[in-house]
Amino acid sequence: MILKMYKVNDGDNVINKSLIDPAIFEIVLKNDFNIVNPTLLISNFAGFDVRKFNYCTLEELDRCYFIDGITMMNGSVFRLECSCDVLESFKVGILGSTARFMRNIRTGDYFNAQISTSINKTVSVYESDKSFTGLPTMVLTTIGV
């Protein structure tokens, strides 16, 4: 089975994580393998530093995993404690699902949303393009021919 190991800087709660610096291994799974929280043993070799990786995928299982812990078994074997990243593993289904959710404001949003406001007010002034002009004028009204 192909194990791909990555370095991931995104948070756990991110969908569409950026997987970088991949390394590929051929591994054999043991009989008591747990698909949600697997434990993997890999051999170290010259030029490979397992401590640089915190994420892996097993494509045959359609799952992505966080590497929660690394234990050195002896001079050349490491044990990786993993847990399934369900957001990344099942993101196609998640993003294709209908949900009711809270999100940020966009242009064209005119919902009556609750937004915290400051007690300070900003005053903007917009002037007319016309005004009273000239000097005061006296106007006389009479009854007359």
């Binding site: 969908i15 099942f90 005053v123």
Partner: protein, 492 residues
């Protein structure tokens, strides 16, 4: 034989101040629609320019002709032949000939300066002054007249009244209007006045007349010509009843305050009449009245009494003042433009008006004052592009009443609204938008908008309240997904 028109022929025409047509088509060498040649049987007409005419020699010999030449074998020389033009017997500015089949090489044209036709009337400076008084404009055959303009019999005259004026029917005179040519003349030993009367349009704004020879009472022509044009026009106002509205200066007002008292006596007793009771109101408006509302000066009458004091007349008693438009932007284009917003319209001489933000933000607000000259009571109409109509109307008294009598308003000058609004120092309307500043309105984790849709396409931080999760994950994994979504996730 065809004669091709070339530049030499055009030069001959130009030098002689004439134009040529061939079978009623003008000649033209510019690849236009005009003729470029003359064919056998076509009629060639030459027309002299204004002030020129064709003529013949002293013994009647023709001086305008086409010329060609043939070889004469007997004479052993070229012999010329001619095609002579015939001058129109009634109009010496025209001459014509029918082209034939011979071959001509040149054209000779003879013109001279002719007698200029004598106009039947010439517009004088006095006439123009007569027009100027009412701002009227006279057009002669669709050309605006000026001093020295000529009028001939049959010319079409149209007179347009100036702004604020209209012509009228002369009372008591049958068919007589206030616009006419007036001349004096004599029939045998009688001294008679004649009138060439203009016809008024229905709205009395234009008067028209086809210039004709004056005729006597029998319709026979008389020898006398027009003497002057008379243009009488009334100032038109929209003032109700027999009231008058004047723009009055302080000096004129001082004079009127003296003239309003009329003294009459029979030598033993003297009575002083105060015509001031026919003054309806005197007030000061805080701006210059638009020029187009001010007509010419007239004497101020109080009832039928002519005070002899002159002042410009206002054409209306309800002054409409456009105080312009205020455009208020909606910078965010979303609910932030309306969150905790108060809109206050500040107007000259009245207290501020609070308007609903819906009518203001992202809209244009127009302000118009309608000022009643009798009372100073002003109706202020505020409209918005939101509805395209008035959204608010208020009334105020913006005219400062000037006392002119101790009896005025029971002995006191009452400016109730001025004491409330008064001169607030505002001459230009403006809108204040007061808004409590939103806290982190665009914060990454703010998420104040509730939405419901497929999550595909969403970006940023969202917090899911409910989801119809479609996935082949295990039960435990689905529970974990829902929990994470409810806690908030970031979609990149």
């Amino acid at each position: 034989m065809t004669l091709w028109i070339d530049q030499d022929l055009l030069d001959v025409l130009s030098t002689a101040h004439v134009t040529m047509t061939v079978d009623d088509v003008a000649i033209d060498l510019t690849l236009g629609d005009g003729k470029t040649n003359i064919l056998d049987g076509e009629v060639v007409v030459l027309t002299a320019d204004t002030g020129y005419e064709f003529y013949t020699g002293a013994t009647g010999e023709v001086l305008t002709f086409f010329e060609g030449s043939d070889w004469d074998p007997d004479a052993m020389d070229y012999v010329s032949f001619y095609l002579n033009f015939t001058i129109d017997t009634e109009d010496v500015t025209k001459t014509s000939v029918t082209f034939d089949d011979r071959s001509y090489e040149s054209l000779t044209v003879a013109t001279q300066e002719g007698a200029v036709a004598t106009p039947d009337y010439v517009i004088t400076a006095t006439d123009m002054q007569e027009l100027f008084g009412s701002g009227s404009v006279l057009e002669i055959n669709d050309v605006v007249a000026e001093v020295g303009s000529n009028i001939f019999i049959g010319d079409s005259l149209v007179l347009s009244a100036g702004v604020g004026y209209e012509f009228y029917l002369q009372p008591g005179v049958s068919e007589q209007t206030s616009v006419y040519f007036h001349y004096r003349g004599g029939i045998e030993d009688m001294y008679v006045e004649f009138y060439g009367i203009f016809t008024l349009s229905e709205d009395k704004k234009t008067a028209s007349f086809t210039f004709a020879d004056p005729t006597d009472f029998n319709g026979d022509p008389v020898a006398y010509k027009w003497q002057e044009i008379i243009v009488l026009a009334n100032q038109t106002t929209e003032v109700v009843g027999s009231n008058k509205v004047f723009v009055i200066s302080e000096d004129a007002w001082d004079s009127l305050n003296v003239a309003r008292f009329k003294t009459e006596g029979d030598g033993e007793t003297t009575v002083v009449y105060d015509y001031g009771k026919f003054i309806l109101n005197l007030m000061e408006l805080p701006f210059s009245i638009p020029e187009d509302l001010i007509l010419n000066s007239e004497n101020i009458y109080l009832a039928s009494y002519d005070t002899g004091v002159e002042s410009p007349v206002l054409s209306v008693d309800l002054i409409r003042v456009d105080l312009g438009s205020i455009n208020v932007p909606a910078p965010h284009g979303n609910l932030l433009d309306f969150t905790d917003v108060t809109c206050v319209l500040r107007l000259p001489r009245v207290a501020g008006v609070v308007l609903d933000a819906d009518y203001v933000v992202g809209e244009r607000v127009d302000v118009e004052y309608l000022i009643d000259c009798y009372t100073g009571l002003t109706t202020i109409n505020i409209s918005s592009t939101k509805t395209g109509s008035n959204i608010h109307t208020l009334q105020a008294d913006i005219g400062v009443k000037v006392p002119y009598s101790s009896e005025y308003n029971g002995g006191t000058v009452n400016n109730p609204d001025i004491s409330i609004g008064g001169d607030n120092g505002i001459v230009r309307p403006f809108i204040e938008i007061l808004q409590n500043d939103p806290m982190l309105p665009n914060g990454f984790f703010t998420g104040p908008v509730l939405d419901e849709s497929v999550l595909e396409g969403e970006t940023g931080f969202i917090k899911v309240e409910e989801i119809d999760l479609i996935s082949d994950a295990t039960y435990v994994e689905k529970s974990k997904i829902v929990g994470l979504l409810q806690g908030g996730v970031i979609i990149r």
